[in-house]
């Protein structure tokens, strides 16, 4: 993802409202690069599926323009867009065999029967379902149906493939296996994939970049690592992984760091977004970066904490504490000190480095809590 990339899909100022009152997608700008695996991640109703449907051509933007390969597709019907779509419920034709399902897009394109047979065989090989041409979808397992749906979306060699929560109906193990499979196929073919999910782990595991949706807007677009390490807004910090959020006011800015007053104490944190003295901000700290009862003076931030409860989770302990007057402050400590080293009701010192605390824009009043 380092060389300059060609833009494949572009949303420019796209808005969508179904009834003219409720806005589902709000003035959205987004670029998808060629060969990229981009995931639209967000809670249900955040507009991610609507974006996918507009890109496929099943919905029309209320305003704004979508470009595919530089060309505006506003007037292009779905069948002329040459986009492979994998639906949440697979949408395999139940009255056709697997072979007929895969041949369908090729027959539409007027391909020779011999060539069709070759392509169908190749596509089934790609999804590891060789020899199942004669079965009907109803005779296949959920995972197999999913593979057929993927094969059907790829068999006519579209440059762009859209997937709408394709693994949502599978159980966890199959899901993880399919995540890997989908990624392997995408890498091998080099197609651009726009993938929709509400599962952040799935998004992290599969994507080159993730666009986090919330209330019809994109909160942040970034590679998974950056999203985890450098969330820019509170919503992203809370949505991707766990995060402790301390709300306070900026009282001093020094280079890349600023000092934030939280519950009468001063927290020093890394400045991800620009801020000035007096700004209300949130400081986010990952629970696994919090050290409990560290050697004094080791960390740039050290505070007293009261342990409210402890949950034993096998490989780690989860401590719920009150820090800087903020309850529900979570720390995860690895299970190496042994269960019982800290007890509920104990008062301990906690600490984290200057860079592990990050200053974020708090959610505006219109976005509220999760």
């Amino acid at each position: 993802m380092d060389s300059p990339q060609k833009v494949h899909v572009e949303f420019e100022g796209v808005s969508k409202s179904y009834d003219g009152r409720t806005v589902v997608v709000r003035d959205l700008d987004l670029a998808v690069y060629e060969g990229e695996f981009l995931t639209l991640l967000g809670p249900s109703g955040s507009g991610k599926t609507t974006c996918l449907m507009m890109l496929a051509g099943f919905q029309t933007p209320t305003s704004g323009t979508i470009r595919i390969g530089g060309r505006a597709v506003d007037d292009l019907p779905p069948r002329k867009r040459d986009i492979g779509v994998v639906f949440q419920n697979y949408a395999l034709f139940p009255h056709m065999t697997v072979g007929e399902n895969l041949s369908f897009p090729l027959e539409v394109r007027g391909m020779e029967p011999r060539q069709i047979r070759e392509r169908v065989r190749g596509a089934l090989e790609l999804v590891r379902l060789e020899g199942l041409e004669g079965r009907r979808p109803g005779e296949l397992s959920g995972g197999q149906q999913q593979r057929v749906a993927i094969a059907r979306a790829l068999v006519f060699e579209p440059a762009l493939v859209l997937m709408d929560e394709p693994l949502g109906a599978l159980d966890r193990r199959l899901r993880e296996e399919m995540q890997y499979e989908v990624r392997r196929i995408q890498r091998r073919l080099g197609v651009t994939v726009v993938y929709v999910t509400h599962d952040q782990q799935e998004a992290m595991a599969m994507s080159d970049r993730v666009a986090v949706f919330q209330r019809g807007r994109i909160e942040q677009v970034a590679p998974p690592e950056a999203l985890y390490e450098e969330p820019q807004r509170e919503f992203v910090a809370r949505f991707i992984g766990d995060n402790n959020l301390l709300r306070g006011k900026v009282v001093g800015v020094e280079g890349d760091f600023c000092r934030v007053e939280v519950g009468g104490q001063i927290v020093t944190a890394f400045r991800v977004v620009p801020c000035e003295v007096g700004d209300p901000v949130s400081v986010a700290i990952r629970p696994e970066r919090v050290a409990v009862a560290p050697e004094p003076g080791l960390y740039g931030n050290e505070f007293d904490a009261g342990i409210d409860d402890i949950t034993f989770l096998g490989d780690h302990l989860r401590l719920r504490m009150t820090v800087c007057d903020t309850p529900d402050f979570i720390a995860k400590i690895p299970n190496i000190v042994g269960h019982g080293a800290v007890l509920e009701g104990d008062r301990v010192r906690v600490g984290w480095t200057l860079t592990d605390g990050r200053v974020l824009e708090p959610d505006g009043p219109e976005t509220g809590s999760k």
Binding site: F58, R79, V85, H95, F104, P105, R109
Partner: protein
């Protein structure tokens, strides 16, 4: 123990009651069947019939019907009008149901009630209205006129059965077909029609049965040339009371039964299909 035996009595009583209802509903129809084999030209059971004397039964009325050019003409008319009206009603009704299944279509419920209205309007009113309307257009006493009239009466059945089938139809299948490059006609032929076929066929059977049984619009719109079987029966009852009508009725009952069996079979097949 006593609760158990009371349950049994209750169940028997319930069975008896249901049987009585069924008998009440079907007896007037069933009584026609043996009478149609009467050797005598009467509408009543003869002593020979009651004592199950084989001599008292015959197929003479069936032969009479089969040899009578008027009945044969009526049969031909019924078939021609029935098939033509069924074809039209099926095509129009299926198209209407497809359109009405689109949630984006404005005025859906109004269009639906208008399309269904021939089912709830008394036939005599539709028939009278059609008579005046068709007379002005020169369609009265013509085959096209009668075919159109029966099409109007049969279409609601197709709309209803196809709409019912479409309610279980996954709209993503249509989207999938479009994303794979298929136009609307190909999508209909290859994806929608095969899946809604049970609804289309049972709608067609209902439309055919409607046309085949219909007498009121035939009385108004049909001329002498367009006498159908029910119209011929009507004439037969008024003009020459002959058990030949019972023979025809028996054939019609058998035919209707066959249609119902086919419809039920289609319905079960449609339900058994995995979603």
């Amino acid at each position: 123990m006593s609760g158990n035996s009371w349950g049994r009595v209750g169940r028997l009583g319930y069975l008896a009651y249901c049987s009585a209802v069924f008998l009440f509903l079907t007896a007037p129809i069933l009584v026609i069947v043996p009478l149609s084999f009467n050797v005598e030209p009467y509408f009543t059971f003869t002593e020979g019939m009651l004592s199950l004397d084989p001599q008292a039964y015959s197929l003479r009325w069936y032969r009479t019907v089969a040899e009578d050019p008027q009945w044969l003409r009526a049969l031909a008319n019924s078939l021609v009008i029935g098939f033509a009206a069924t074809a039209l009603a099926t095509a129009l009704g299926t198209l209407a149901a497809l359109g009405l299944s689109n949630p984006a279509m404005p005025g859906r419920s109004l269009a639906m009630s208008l399309l269904i209205s021939p089912m709830v309007t008394p036939v005599i009113i539709s028939a009278a209205g059609m008579f005046f309307f068709y007379s002005d257009l020169g369609l009265a006493q013509t085959y096209p006129g009668l075919i159109l009239a029966h099409t109007a009466l049969g279409t609601p059945f197709v709309v209803i059965t196809v709409t019912a089938t479409l309610s279980g139809f996954d709209p993503n299948l249509t989207r999938a077909a479009a994303s794979l490059g298929a136009g609307p006609v190909r999508t209909f032929r290859r994806v929608q029609l095969p899946l809604i076929a049970p609804g289309v066929i049972s709608g067609a059977l209902f439309a055919f049965a409607t046309s085949f049984d219909e007498v009121v619009t035939v009385l108004f719109i049909g001329g002498l040339d367009q006498r159908t079987i029910p119209r011929q029966m009507w004439a037969g009852i008024r003009e020459q009371i002959s058990p030949a009508i019972l023979a025809v009725a028996t054939v019609l009952i058998a035919f209707a039964l066959l249609l119902m069996v086919v419809v039920e079979w289609l319905r079960r097949r449609g339900n058994a299909k995995p979603a």
